[in-house]
């Protein structure tokens, strides 16, 4: 008779065979990068996510160097023709991966495709100031704008302004293009297995020269702990979006280093519904600001991986105004409340989503800090996908936490305008003087005067406490020793600049 234990011996024999295969180590010119999110599609005109991947497949007319200066890309030079016209000289001799030539027609095609109202491009707001792209000759184009647009070159340095090949797109259609894109960039897409990996291979004919790393594999690992584990085990050599509470694991590992981009992350703030009582009283808003010990939050809850600034813009933004860090004085806060007629405090709702580094814990601290000056906070930790509908719809709590940044424009305008101009979806500020300053800054072609207007905006926000800036997060990368990489302020990972130290 068979023993019921027979299969155990069989299993005991098989198990070690299954276990002996060890993760293969990266070849010398191959690199694996772990990302927090999985790419859905790779059409730069219709992106609904960060442009990290397409940034390596496509080029823009204007590029940013590692100092974040605007430098020539597919355009060699540009100039202002008149208040509503910019002219760009195109780089001759550049070809797309499929051999199609890059020319003025490709530029016009790229923008016409996004600006076409029927296309419903989700990225249209980044280029909405462009009214028309005019072909002057094969190597020259003119951009006509709806009004004066001082930020046009900066707009042309980011998505959706990546130049796409008209011939290939017409041939294969948009859906195919989104999974097998063709650009002029340093890398070609070799394999795209959704949710598992995306492999890129170097384009040897790249106009800036052949890239150093032959093959790059991008792996989406959404769980932060698993992402860090993949780095620690050597499966990946570079990982982005390292949360502050896991940074220690990387710092203490001799084979890895933590790359910290100071001010590379979002600036967190408390949005206030400042047209409703009791927040319509500037003294109340100042009292709330004085109740927060920002330095303690940064050092205790964020392990130091954040910086407290006075301004809502980032020091890396063009047009940043350096202001003293907001003070901490609960005594004075209580006095201000009493002056405003709230000596016994009041009750209010606050929302803090679990989205940013330790943000729910920061929310709990804030509720407690406000409690100490007599403001009773009922704290909600909303689910992110619900919260991001409440905020633009105006149905969020009177005090709400958000993180904001200038994304890839690195201009104070993007860090300020959408959350401060009245009538913008993400703004709950209603301040006529501020609106005027913001509007004038958007029309100002003179750079010096524009920076002055932006400075006045930042000053007014602080004077009136129209929102309460908390701190700016760092962005953290984990990098294997031997990999040459430096995190950038614009959060891009340009593979062209990557290499191995030998």
């Amino acid at each position: 008779m068979h023993s019921p234990f027979g299969w155990i011996r069989w299993l005991a024999f098989c198990l070690p065979i299954a276990l002996v295969s060890v993760p293969d180590h990266a070849r010398a010119s191959e690199l694996t990068i772990a990302q927090a999110t999985a790419p859905a599609a790779l059409d730069p005109g219709f992106l609904r996510e960060a442009a990290t991947l397409v940034d390596n497949v496509f080029d823009t007319l204007v590029m940013r160097d590692d100092q974040m200066r605007l430098v020539p890309g597919l355009a060699t030079e540009w100039r202002v023709v008149d208040e509503q016209t910019w002219e760009f000289e195109l780089r001759p001799g550049v070809k797309f991966h499929n051999g199609e030539p890059f020319d003025a027609e490709a530029v016009k095609f790229t923008f016409d495709r996004i600006l076409d109202p029927a296309a419903n491009a989700p990225t249209i707001s980044y280029v909405r100031t462009i009214s028309e792209v005019e072909i002057v000759d094969a190597d020259t184009v003119r951009f006509h704008t709806t009004g004066a647009d001082p930020l046009l070159p900066s707009r042309l340095s980011r998505y959706p302004a990546y130049i796409v090949p008209p011939g290939y797109l017409r041939e294969v259609g948009e859906q195919e293009f989104a999974s097998a894109p063709v650009g002029t960039g340093p890398y070609r897409v070799a394999e795209f297995v959704r949710d598992d990996h995306l492999t890129m291979v170097a384009n040897p004919d790249y106009w800036r020269g052949a890239p150093q790393v032959e093959r790059v594999v991008w792996r989406p690992i959404p769980e932060a702990t698993a992402r860090v584990a993949a780095l620690l085990s050597g499966e990946v050599q570079l990982a982005e979006s390292i949360p502050a509470d896991l940074a220690q694991l990387i710092e203490s590992n001799p084979e890895l280093r933590l790359d910290r981009v100071e001010n590379g992350g979002l600036t967190l703030y408390l949005g206030l519904k400042s047209d409703e009582p009791p927040l319509d009283d500037p003294r109340v808003r100042e009292a709330l600001s004085l109740a927060i010990d920002r330095q303690a939050v940064v050092s205790r809850l964020l392990r130091g991986f954040a910086t407290v600034h006075g301004s809502q813009a980032s020091p890396l933004d063009h047009g940043y105004l350096e202001l003293p860090a907001p003070g901490y004085d609960p005594e004075r806060a209580r006095e201000l409340l009493a002056e405003a007629g709230y000596g016994d405090g009041f009750e209010i709702r606050m929302q803090a989503p679990r989205r940013y580094n330790a943000s729910a814990e920061v929310g709990q601290y804030l509720a407690q800090a406000f409690g100490q000056i007599g403001v009773k906070v009922s704290l909600e930790i909303p689910e992110w996908s619900v919260y991001t509908q409440q905020v633009p719809a105006g149905s969020q709590a009177p005090i709400y936490m958000l993180g904001w940044g200038s994304t890839q424009t690195l201009d104070a305008d993007a860090a300020l305008y959408p959350i401060l101009r009245s009538g913008e979806p993400y703004s709950t500020v209603r301040d006529a003087e501020l609106d005027q300053l913001l509007d004038r800054s958007r029309q100002m072609l003179d750079e010096q005067q524009r920076v002055e207007l932006l400075a006045a905006v930042q000053q007014r926000v602080v004077d009136q406490r129209l929102l309460l800036t908390l701190y700016q997060e760092d962005s953290l990368y984990g990098v294997a020793n031997g990999v040459r990489f430096e995190g950038r302020a614009d959060a891009r990972i340009p593979l062209f600049d990557l290499g191995f130290d030998r």
Binding site: A40, P122, T123, R219, A226, A230, Q389, W404, P418
Partner: protein, 305 residues
């Protein structure tokens, strides 16, 4: 089993599915539409409104529902807002990974759970029984997100035996299958143990023993066979549930299955995709339930309607 019973159960299943479409549709749409979330933060109200209109989100909810239902009936499951591809295609693409993980997790957990359950039931109260019950308790008590991370820490980081995640080879499958199966292993252990102990006390077992059969034969031919029925039922249901995707396990191990697709869809408020994933999961569950019921009626003449 009468034809009337089959028709009755089929109609019931259809009704359940219709109910699911209503609940899913309204639950998702009451939370608001995804227009603002799908556009970049710099989008103006006009742009959001234009987009909302283009997507048809500004129509009354019941009109959108009727429209949705009629398209479903015609086999049009819609296009994912984020992926811009037909949702059915996305689900079919991820089905093999989910199927593989579900099969792997359920097969090892059934085998081991069955073994532990039998061993424990044969010597109730013994050290072996205690041990088996401890394992069963642990498997059910340890949350999968914790177990998954501990497995990664031990097998990927400490011993460097297995990858932390990914898909494609056997070594990628082991950790997620172990993490996911632990719970079911415990469930099977307890179920087998209890129903076997129960069966061993039944009259037919006493009769079999009285006939002079060997103890092992009594267990195998008489007790175990009867103890098996609830196990098969439970595992069939678990399998059906797992085909809807193992949300947490798939996210932790970067497993490209339906569960991870569902999590992404929810985070991005990709309504067409969320709807169809829920519908799909419900359909599989209803279908398996129906099959099990029909099989029961076929196997056990005592079940009649």
């Amino acid at each position: 089993m009468s034809a009337r019973y089959v028709v009755h159960r089929l109609l019931q299943s259809l009704l359940v599915m219709l109910g699911v479409t209503v609940v899913v549709f309204y639950a998702l749409h009451l939370g608001g539409d995804p227009a603002a979330l799908m556009l970049p933060p710099e989008a103006s109200f006009e742009e959001i409104a234009a987009f909302r209109h283009a997507m048809g989100f500004d129509r009354p909810l019941w009109v959108q529902y009727i429209d949705y239902l009629s398209r479903l009936m015609q086999g049009d499951f819609g296009v994912s807002l984020r992926f811009q591809r037909p949702v059915l295609e996305l689900i079919v693409e991820r089905l093999p990974a989910t199927l593989l993980l579900a099969l792997a997790a359920l097969s090892w957990s059934t085998l081991l759970g069955f073994f532990l359950g039998v061993v424990a039931a044969l010597r109730p109260g013994s050290a072996i029984d205690f041990f088996a019950r401890c394992i069963a308790l642990m498997g059910q008590a340890l949350p999968v997100f914790w177990l998954g991370l501990v497995l990664i820490l031990l097998f990927s980081l400490h011993w460097r035996l297995l990858p932390t995640g990914g898909y494609g080879e056997l070594r990628h499958l082991i950790l997620p299958a172990v993490a996911l199966g632990a719970y079911y292993m415990s469930a099977v252990t307890r179920l087998v143990r209890d129903s076997l102990i129960d069966a061993l006390g039944q009259d037919y077992v006493r009769t079999a023993r009285a006939k002079g059969l060997s103890e092992w034969r009594v267990i195998r031919r008489h007790a175990l066979r009867n103890a098996l029925i609830p196990v098969v039922t439970v595992q069939a249901m678990e399998f059906a549930a797992l085909l809807g995707g193992a949300l947490i396990t798939e996210v932790i191990f970067s497993w490209p299955g339906i569960g991870r697709l569902a999590v992404q869809a929810i985070q991005n408020r990709d309504l067409p995709l969320v709807q169809v994933i829920v519908l799909f999961a419900a359909a599989v569950f209803v279908l398996v339930n129906l099959l099990v019921d029909l099989l029961y009626a076929l196997l056990n003449p005592r079940i009649r309607l």
